[in-house]
Symmetry: C2
Subunit: 360 residues, 2 copies
């Protein structure tokens, strides 16, 4: 079976590492000449709107999937005429746009921060009055890793904020006094079976994920699965979906979904019986899903900007290096380490060991 | 770092799957147009004696390693002029030839079956008289998976055996009434550090490995490590070396070594903290070695000739599919399953589950 992937970054690379042992071949469509997944499959170097090359991809593969959600709707619609596409165009349409996404949460009875659609500065002024400050203004589409958003703490912050974000459609979200950020990696098969990984505690820095720790019997696991299950069924979703929540007052408020394998699920490569990458491929390929249980106490730390010296990372006990083979650049995710330990005290020590290398 | 591999079969493929997350790139030199490692790196399609292409490989990579031992000595010598080669030409020279190999064991005080060098039918007749029957006649080089050998049970079997194996240099080995076959996967770093995986119990069928089960605190572990350590140090070996033994009268007799990652070590991909593939790459790249301990009760079953339906293999609990992406053909190793379980009773059940798929 040959899998087409839109995007050839590290998520595509890790999909190929998981799928090759299942006998799958890969083709990546990505305009970047140095797409890091290209080492593991065919690289069709073309823009995402290039119909000739999209057609070439569709003709070569058995199905198409995505490693990022901001694929143009036209691309998905075009591909869908020739080849199965998972997740569906509708799932991508919703997940790509914060207004559609939050509106769906509301329709499904999933709590969210207060939110409002912002098409102008006048809309923003009205929404600030209704929701109050602090609040966060986010572009409806194309935001990631804290890009395309602005925290509004005062009327002065809000004054020109719409123009500052490019005068594009935005969403205003009420600030949530959360006690933690957690994410749930979920997977739904073609036949509707769903499975969920243990909730992950996430720590961000400057809007970028730094640390994910898989929980053990988290008291909010069942609630998170209930919410995620509503979204999966609503979208008749196929593949892995990541659901980010704020922990608020002992409950959950939905932040956002990502219709793909997700950074907060990278610990599953060694930390779970079947990784998010393999389970995504199993789902889209119509294979039975794999076990989502932890193998032990497990966590993931991102390497941002640079990977510490390889000989130092691999010298750490219980540590697995994942180097993406990308050029180093400030703020860029260039690798991660996963940790798998027998007990929590050891895990905490190992997290400190990796952090020390990052800080060195 | 870019690694050159002589040979582009499944061992090369699994080396690339292990090395890519370490940030390594791969080039495989293999004459076969359908070399299955080619999906994961550059494929230099050339004969092993093609000096132009060997030079191209040497120029492109940081070091060269091997996925099979019957590489011509001239190839190794030529490459060594331009690029570091691990394991060394000397290690390959010994391991490739059963006479050199057995003579080294003898010199190092490692017990072996009785053996004799056979250059003619007259040599064979004399050796049969000295060693007795039954015995096994094996070509000194190029044998694998039971090929290039003949069991001699009677004088009639021995009569024309030398001609039957092609009148090439052979070794006669006394038949050993063994109670089991075990192998030790060992790894030696550039700085001389050695590590050993748990002894593996192997079951063969028609000369081909079918099942490997990693042992727990095997009573012969220390003895096997002692023997393997002598060979590693004698050869100043760098990389993974597999050592096959017969269990005889509560002791070990050396059968053969393979100067490479080995089929009886495939369980280490999921079953050990650091796989044989990653440890081989760490060793040749001058990185610290990884932990060789088991993660649980673990085993490997080969898929020979054909891989059972993928949807059935992945549906089995505790089972990991490794499909080599090769054309199916009788007697050919085309994949394997590794099992990782919490207890031995479960492992035995899972082995039966996989065996049932193989037999279906």
């Amino acid at each position: 079976m040959k899998i087409g992937v839109i995007g050839g970054g590290q998520l595509g690379r890790m999909l190929a590492l998981a799928g090759t042992p299942l006998g799958m071949d890969f083709a990546f469509l990505d305009p970047a000449p140095d797409a890091c997944a290209a080492a593991l499959g065919e690289h069709i170097r073309a823009d995402y709107g290039d119909q000739d090359h999209l057609r070439q991809l569709a003709d070569e593969v058995d199905l198409v999937t995505f490693e990022f959600e901001s694929v143009p709707a036209e691309t998905v619609a075009f591909l869908s005429r020739f080849v199965p596409v998972y997740p569906s165009a509708e799932a991508l349409r919703i997940a790509r746009d914060r207004w559609f996404e939050k509106s769906m949460f509301k329709d499904l009875g999933i709590p969210t921060p207060a939110f409002a659609d912002i098409q102008s500065q006048a809309d923003l002024d009205a929404a600030v009055a209704a929701i109050g400050l602090p609040a966060v203004l986010k572009t409806r589409t194309l935001g990631y890793d804290g890009k395309g958003q602005k925290v509004l703490r005062s009327a002065a912050d809000a004054a020109d904020a719409f123009a500052e974000l490019g005068s594009v459609p935005c969403l205003l979200e009420g600030f949530v006094p959360f006690t933690g950020e957690v994410s749930l990696i979920a997977v739904r098969a073609r036949d509707g079976e769903t499975r969920f990984y243990p909730l992950v505690h996430n720590t961000h820095e400057s809007g970028i994920l730094r640390l994910s720790v898989a929980s053990d019997a988290h008291p909010l696991q069942a609630l998170a699965e209930d919410y995620a299950g509503r979204v999966l069924d609503q979208l008749q979703y196929v593949g892995v979906l990541a659901f980010e929540f704020f922990e608020v007052d002992g409950g959950l408020k939905a932040n956002e979904i990502a219709p793909r394998v997700h950074n907060s699920g990278h610990w599953t490569i060694e930390g779970a019986r079947c990784s998010q990458f393999e389970n995504h491929l199993r789902a889209v390929a119509g294979l039975p899903l794999g076990a989502t249980t932890r193998r032990g106490e497990t966590a993931m730390l991102n390497f941002i900007g640079t990977v510490p010296p390889v000989e130092k990372v691999v010298a750490l006990a219980d540590c697995h290096l994942h180097h993406y083979g990308k050029a180093f650049k400030d703020g860029r995710k260039v690798g991660h380490a996963t940790l798998l330990c027998a007990d929590r005290a050891t895990l905490d020590q190992r997290i400190a060991d990796v952090q020390a290398l990052i800080d060195a």
